[in-house]
């Protein structure tokens, strides 16, 4: 095999010439060649908040910080699905923006490529952040990204339906099963969650898995099996529609809004949609744990802001100031309130929770929330695939929870 590259040298040359053309073309747009002693008057920013109202909320925060730092912000928003391919494309053509937003589970993946600068190089403070938030932003002991606001998932319940059935919000798995069964009648299911074959399905399963002591590194354990048994029982008994296998979190919200599910597992980003329907009275509690006394561990969601390695130290330093500015106490509170997310500094939680009672449960959960990539780093995507495969295998009845997990772990 070793001789193979040698024999294809003319071919490789031809290929190199062809690759070179688009690279050279795209290289023209880069402005990184500017000398680093010049004053920085402009910062390019890329994020995936391409829908209103988030687009404006983030835009406002960026331009406010820009004014404060004396730079104009050149912002580009791309659809969430194409952000990573865009970042990879830009990192190979060396045209990464000065400030880059990433979804937190992708941070380690991108940091591992060497495309990001450690924030400590620019003396950005990482004090007071919740542990999970820092762990999501860290790759190999260095912090590469900070999230001004974060989110997680909890149990939403329809107050009217629960009151009519005489059910109180469940706190343990037994109560959850009993409540869901009691709330299932006719067209209405007791509970809705999403168990689809994407990372979203894994994300919604993590609270029960983690709260029961399950671990993503090795999923064929007793703890994870019990959690999967709960999900399987809920679907098999008919308390959760088997459509959960194909629902997205938005579908789950629609079921809840339409009164077809009395409770749902979902996140605070659905609150604006829920509030649009004034007749809907809902409450939010933590996702139940197996036994009273266990801590409900929620997965951490949200986007981190990073400083890519653009090669221009002055611009990078300015970009780091931008990341620090977005993470100032004042901006964290403002963005969290506007976007129904949670400030990532634990020192702000109490004030935020009392000002925003609707988000109090989520604020409480963030203190102990766990990052998906905290343990596995770049290995997370492969393991997350195994987890949703096991969920699907068990929920369709193709194998028992124990066998499903064993099969998936061995894959």
């Amino acid at each position: 095999m070793k001789s193979a590259p040698k024999t294809s040298r003319p071919l490789a040359l031809a290929v190199a010439a062809l690759v070179g053309l688009p690279l050279a073309l795209s290289g023209c747009g880069s402005s990184t060649a500017a000398s680093s002693s010049e004053a920085v008057t402009e910062l390019s920013v890329m994020d995936y908040y391409n829908n209103e109202p988030d687009k404006s909320f983030i835009g406002d925060a960026l331009s406010k910080c820009g004014t404060q730092l004396g730079v104009t912000v050149k912002r580009e928003t791309v659809p969430g699905k194409s952000l990573i391919s865009k970042v990879l494309q830009q990192s190979s053509s060396k045209t990464l923006p000065d400030v880059l937003m990433l979804d937190n589970p992708d941070l380690q993946q991108i940091a591992a490529t060497g495309a990001l600068a450690p924030l400590a190089d620019f003396k950005v403070s990482t004090e007071n952040f919740a542990e999970g938030v820092l762990s999501a932003g860290t790759y190999k002991d260095k912090v590469y990204g900070l999230a001004p606001t974060v989110n997680t998932i909890a149990l939403f319940y329809n107050k009217d339906i629960l009151a009519a059935a005489g059910v109180t919000p469940p706190t343990t798995w037994e109560e959850l099963k009993a409540a869901s069964a009691k709330l299932t009648a006719g067209d209405q299911y007791g509970l809705a969650f999403n168990a689809n074959p994407t990372y979203e399905g894994t994300w919604q399963f993590l609270p029960v898995m983690w709260s029961n002591g399950g671990d993503e590194k090795k999923i064929d354990t007793k703890e994870t099996e019990q959690a999967l048994q709960l999900w399987t029982d809920l679907v098999k008994s008919g308390s959760v529609s088997s459509s959960a296998l194909n629902w997205t979190q938005a579908d789950v919200k629609d079921q809840f809004l339409a009164g077809k599910a009395a409770m749902m597992v979902n996140g605070p980003w659905q609150i604006p949609a829920l509030d649009k329907q004034p007749t809907l009275q809902y409450g939010v509690v933590k996702i139940p744990v197996r036994e009273a006394g266990q801590t409900s561990v929620a997965p951490l969601g949200g986007e981190v802001w990073t400083v890519p390695q653009t090669g221009n130290k002055a611009r990078q330093a300015k970009a780091a100031e931008m990341v620090a500015c977005l993470n100032s106490d004042e901006n964290q509170l403002a963005m969290a309130t506007a976007r129904n997310t949670i400030p990532s500094k634990t020192t702000l939680s109490d004030k935020f929770a009392s000002d925003n009672p609707k988000l109090a449960t989520f604020t409480e959960l963030i203190k102990t929330a766990r990052a998906r990539t905290g343990q596995l780093g770049e290995e997370w995507p492969a393991q997350a695939t195994k987890i949703y495969t096991a969920i699907q295998t068990s929920l369709t009845g193709n194998a028992s929870p124990a066998d499903a997990l064993k099969q998936a772990q061995g894959q």
């Binding site: 193979a4 290929v15 990192s91 993946q109 529609s241 459509s243 194909n246 995507p381 699907q392």
Partner: protein, 330 residues
């Protein structure tokens, strides 16, 4: 090669000998001018090829070569920044082909392709023959049948996902109102039904293509044949069996081979409807390759699986070429 050997060798020799025998031969133009004119002509011939060659190398050659090279490399997200992709030989192929998911995907790909092609072709042919008759609104109806083809695939799959929903889907409501079913059929969430549902949607999307091409083929068959046939008593099924089908065969083979190649690589419909689920029951080689590359960032393995798909498509392309050559020979 073919340009240089315009003249068969033996004739060339004879011509050379004759020229030598005649001395300089006053009736022929001076060799120098003739040769330069020939050279210029050949240059122009090559120049006319340049646009096609450049296009082919840029848009076909480069991606194919790149994909083959990538499948032998450990190509990850870091490669994009550092440019380093270690050579790993056949490791990617071994990993992908020995994974337990591969056999599932392969079987699903075969079932999906066979099911879709048979359904699309039979219904498409039946409709094409139906529209051969002259009746009012024929043209309007035929153009309405093209609609599935005109809709973006993402839109059609989103609509079908809603139609096929277990609890509030239009199809289950309809069947329920008719009293055919009592509880919702889990079209997209049962491991035994999901593939059938996905094939059904793909048939719906493929009918316009089959209808259009087969209808065009039918129009090409001269009416005289049917007239002559009817004099001999060949009508209805007999005329189809002995006139329509043999005359349509070249078009049929084009439709089938293109259909197979289009169906093998179907991605968006499956991603839109089920994402490969439930429990991988609609996972095909195409969707698995997409997942490996763009969700797990294992670009090398994704490329290896993609190449397996390309090879399967190539087999059909070769079969098609051989079949059409035999038809010409006959």
């Amino acid at each position: 090669m073919t340009l240089a050997t315009d003249i068969p060798q033996s004739e060339g020799h004879a011509a050379g000998k004759a020229a030598r025998a005649n001395g300089t031969g006053a009736e022929q133009p001076p060799p120098k001018r003739r040769r330069s004119r020939q050279r210029r002509e050949r240059l122009f011939q090559w120049l006319f090829l340049v646009p096609a060659v450049v296009y082919m190398t840029l848009f076909f050659g480069y991606p194919v070569v790149k994909n083959v090279v990538m499948s032998f490399q450990e190509y990850t997200t870091s490669t994009f920044f550092t440019g380093e992709a270690p050579w790993v030989g056949f490791t990617n192929y071994v990993t992908v082909l020995s994974s337990s998911l591969f056999s599932t995907s392969l079987v699903n790909t075969v079932l999906f392709t066979l099911g879709s092609i048979i359904g699309q072709f039979v219904i498409g042919l039946a409709l094409a023959i139906f529209f051969q008759r002259k009746f009012p609104l024929n043209g309007i109806l035929r153009s309405l049948l093209l609609l599935p083809w005109l809709l973006p695939l993402i839109v059609s799959s989103a609509v079908w996902r809603w139609i096929l929903d277990k609890d509030s889907g239009a199809l289950n409501r309809f069947l329920g109102d008719l009293g055919i079913i009592e509880t919702g059929v889990p079209w997209l969430t049962s491991t035994s039904l999901a593939l059938i549902a996905v094939v059904g949607v793909n048939i719906w999307i493929g009918i316009p293509f089959n209808l259009t091409i087969l209808y065009g083929g039918l129009q090409e068959i001269p009416d005289e044949l049917y007239e002559a046939g009817s004099l001999d008593g060949a009508t209805g099924w007999k005329s189809f069996r002995h006139i329509t089908w043999p005359m349509l065969r070249p078009v049929v083979s084009v439709v089938l081979v293109l259909g197979v190649v289009y169906t093998l690589k179907v991605l968006d419909i499956i991603l839109g409807l089920t994402n490969g689920g439930p429990a991988n029951s609609t996972q095909t080689i195409a969707t698995q390759s997409y997942n490996l590359s763009f969700h797990e960032f294992k670009f090398g393995e994704g490329a290896a699986l993609g190449n397996v798909l390309v090879i399967i498509s190539l087999v059909f392309a070769v079969l098609y070429l051989r079949a059409s050559r035999r038809a010409v020979d006959e």
